[in-house]
């Protein structure tokens, strides 16, 4: 297509009559909303391929297919999520969501969050105070005392101020209108032009249910708004960066901190001839998991295969923390440890959690425990060590390093130097310095 032809293209409508007239009841406000949206699009002369009308369930959700633009019709109350997905995927698109007051109820969280995030979609609400499609049930905007199929004695619930809610959630552009506003199309065009999130709440009549049941006519709409002490017109106009723009800026500003990964190559030897299971039981906050990982990485530096399976409660800094590490010269299948070779107990929390297992340990297992702990009867060979005391002199958070270093020195599975090397490679310099000291101190405790 040549440039001159493009310039000559002028869209006179964005609607099609291919599938017949609009499906709404006579006098229904949705007619005015849809026609105004068409006029707004004509005013803006947008490429229909770059416009998406997004709807969900409810009478107004029937309208997307009458447009010649792209159309996305999704689940009840979720149109905002699809609109956001489209806009995040292709920020250059104009994405317009048509939604009812019912959809604003079921999808209330999406309204709050799109406003808060400032994703640049336009939300037009056809607000007619009830569910027209399913038989006139009450919605989140039904006035108190309003009669609907589900409020036969009058609504005892209070109505939600959609605009007020959007403003409170941080929406950058909010406007309350009625279906009878002469400038509705112009207002819609302004809403669509906003780079950030824009919401237009259009109060209207449902001529099938709400209006006849409650004798609500044109003149009563403005009265109703006034009776709530609410305003019509522009309620928020506070532009701020649109989400995708902000997202990219934040990434560009922060990307320099991205850490590159280091591969683990064999640097040390080992004496492991068969699959060997090590359990370390301590308290959450004692760095059990991360230290077990360093131990496993050290075994890999020594040419071994490793797995690590953890056991911990949902809380983070309290309760037990157990790690099961398997090291092996060959591929490891079963990742739990059926019969541990070495069992380390560092704290009371760990002991409490591991007690039944400790009681069942075989004589082939060595149980290493902090000297402060009262151990149950066990067949395992018991070695008691002043781990907590030793760690306290360096840093109490290094107790797991102290403990695993003792066991390495005692068993000779692989060199303590490999453990120190893993610490230096994978931990931040400051912490590594402390932990290398802890590994040296732990190794000295070994009885041999």
């Amino acid at each position: 297509m040549s440039t001159t032809e493009v310039a000559a293209t002028r869209y006179t409508t964005y609607m099609t009559d291919k599938i017949g007239p609009l499906p709404f009841c006579p006098g229904c406000g949705h007619h005015m909303i849809i026609k105004s949206l068409d006029k707004a699009l004509v005013k803006l002369q947008l490429d229909p391929k770059k416009v998406v009308i997004v709807t969900d369930i409810g009478c107004i959700g029937l309208s997307d297919r009458y447009f010649t633009t792209n159309a996305f019709h999704g689940l009840h109350g979720r149109s905002i999520t699809y609109a956001c997905g489209l806009k995040l995927a292709r920020p250059e698109l104009t994405v317009i969501t048509l939604k009812g007051d019912g959809g604003c109820g079921i999808g209330g969280t999406h309204l709050l969050n799109v406003a808060r995030r400032n994703i640049g979609i336009t939300l037009i609400v056809g607000n007619n105070f009830n569910y027209g499609m399913t038989g006139g049930q009450h919605s989140v905007t039904t006035p108190t005392d309003g009669v609907t199929s589900t409020t036969p004695w009058g609504n005892v619930e209070g109505p939600m101020d959609l605009c007020g809610t959007a403003v409170a959630a941080g929406a950058s552009w909010v406007y309350r209108a009625t279906m009878f506003d002469k400038d509705l199309a112009d207002v819609m065009a302004r809403a669509i032009e906003q780079p950030g999130f824009a919401m237009l709440d259009v109060w209207e009549l449902c001529t099938a249910y709400y209006s006849p049941r409650n004798r609500l006519k044109k003149a009563d709409l403005l009265e109703l708004i006034k009776s709530y002490g609410l305003e019509v017109g522009l309620l928020a106009d506070k532009p701020r960066p649109e989400y995708s723009v902000h997202y990219r800026e934040a990434y560009e500003a922060g990307k320099s901190v991205i850490k590159r990964k280091i591969p683990i190559e064999k640097e040390y030897g080992n004496s492991v001839e068969k699959q060997t299971g090590i359990v370390i039981a301590g308290s959450a906050g004692q760095k059990i998991k991360s230290t077990a990982t360093l131990f496993a990485e050290a075994s890999m530096l020594s040419g071994l295969e490793a797995t690590q399976k953890d056991d911990y409660p949902i809380t983070v800094m309290t309760g037990h923390s157990l790690a099961e590490v398997i090291v092996s010269p060959d591929r490891i299948e079963y990742t739990a440890i059926e019969s541990p070779d070495y069992f380390l107990v560092i704290s009371e929390d760990g002991l409490k959690r591991a007690r039944p297992r400790i009681e069942g340990l075989p004589e082939t297992c060595t149980l290493y425990a902090d000297e402060s702990l009262e151990l149950p009867e066990t067949k395992a060979k018991v070695v008691r060590l002043p781990w907590a005391e030793t760690a306290k002199k360096i840093d109490r958070l290094s107790v797991a390093v102290v403990a695993l270093a003792t066991v390495l020195q005692d068993t000779g599975l692989f060199p303590v130097e490999a453990f120190a090397s893993a610490i230096s490679k994978f931990q931040k310099a400051k912490i590594a310095e402390i932990n290398v000291k802890a590994a040296e101190a732990g190794a000295k405790l070994a009885v041999g």
């Binding site: 391929k49 689940l75 683990i264 059926e338």
Partner: protein
């Protein structure tokens, strides 16, 4: 990159990026949260967008729409989140949306045990949504397979224009293993089949029921349409029973007819074996140990490990059943996949389930004992 010590969740994120994923939305949930963390770091580095949504419903909504706008998308959650995904999964199936859904299964029902593993969502995944269309689901057993099968899940999603599930488990997601991801052989990346610029676009065009329609992105070369309502090939609402039936048949046929192509299994058959263990996921590793020990005692026993759970790899399962008199099915649930094996087992073949749901792994010893191998 070389050898690393990685958890399954990181391998999933890396497999996803290897498949050129450029959109992710998810909501925090133990034990899947670290996938969200990895993706929020990795996706923008590849020029894409990753977002923590307000809930699981929004995660799915964002992903479905982004996929239809041309992105390669993934989301990840665990059992409670999958429950909330359910309605949108139906939408994705009906709209023929390519996407990958990761489930790091945990002990359920409901909140269950957040930090404990289970594989209780196997049949739930098959029948995940109203309408009951077939699904594709892959089940990794190791950290390496978490990487490989996530990558393959993207290929299947593109090839069949459908959501594809990666059914992992806390026991893989947050268990670490020594692994070299670069050493894993991967098939070439499947590109999305697109409608040519000058061709007319029907969102659901097919001649044969099994044909997978070519796509055009929202915002691309054509006017695109998508709908949650029963529709025809143009994605316009229809109420004609014959058209509705044709579409339903199409959604099912394109997956059912490809069952053999989608089937991924690992066979370890022994001549003269009359016992077979059929397993999948983390418990297949217990099964492998049980088989090894039984053979060491002189028993003849075969193993079939399923990496594809849905559609059921029937051909592979039936052929593994040749000459078999007893089949042991160990699972981290109360016998969900055993139902499929019982359906396929010839008369007179005993199917023995070894299942539990108490947050601990089914051990090799339990398979040996309950399976009658000792």
């Amino acid at each position: 990159m070389g050898r690393e010590f990685l958890e399954g969740n990181e391998a999933i994120a890396r497999g996803c990026m290897k498949a050129k994923c450029d959109f992710f939305a998810g909501y925090p949930i133990t034990p899947a949260s670290s996938i969200l963390h990895y993706m929020l770091e990795l996706v923008p580095q590849a020029g894409g967008t990753a977002i923590q949504a307000e809930d699981e419903i929004a995660s799915m909504g964002f992903c479905i729409a982004a996929a239809m706008a041309g992105r390669k998308v993934m989301t990840a959650t665990s059992g409670p989140g999958i429950s909330l995904y359910s309605e949108n999964v139906g939408l994705a199936q009906m709209g023929e949306t390519p996407m990958v859904i990761v489930n790091i299964q945990r002990q359920g029902p409901a909140t269950g045990s957040a930090t404990k593993g289970a594989e209780g969502d196997i049949q739930f995944t098959r029948w995940i949504t109203s309408g009951g269309l077939p699904v594709i689901a892959l089940s990794p057993a190791t950290v390496a397979e978490a990487y490989e099968l996530t990558y393959r899940a993207f290929n299947l999603a593109e090839q069949y224009r459908t959501p594809v599930f990666v059914l992992a488990n806390k026991e893989i997601g947050v268990t670490k293993e020594s692994v070299d991801l670069d050493a894993i052989e991967l098939p070439p990346l499947v590109e999305r089949k697109k409608v040519g610029r000058d061709q007319e676009y029907l969102p659901h065009r097919f001649e044969r029921l099994t044909e997978v329609p070519a796509m055009s992105d929202f915002g691309g070369e054509h006017i695109a349409r998508y709908t949650t309502s029963t529709h025809d090939k143009t994605a316009y609402l229809t109420t004609k029973p014959e058209v509705i039936q044709e579409m339903i048949d199409h959604y099912a046929a394109k997956i059912d007819a490809a069952a053999d192509e989608i089937a991924l299994v690992k066979e370890d058959f022994q001549d003269g074996a009359d016992v077979l263990i059929i397993s999948y996921g983390i418990i297949s590793r217990s099964a492998i140990v049980a088989v090894k020990r039984a053979r060491a005692r002189g028993a003849k026993i075969s193993s079939l490990v399923l990496q594809t759970l849905w559609p059921v790899p029937e051909k592979a399962i039936k052929s593994a059943m040749n000459g078999i008199r007893k089949i042991i099915v160990p699972e981290m649930n109360m016998g969900q996949y055993r139902l499929e094996i019982e359906r396929l087992a010839p008369d007179g073949v005993a199917v023995v389930g070894v299942g539990k749901m108490n947050t601990s792994l089914v051990s090799p010893a339990e398979i040996e004992r309950i399976g009658g191998l000792l």
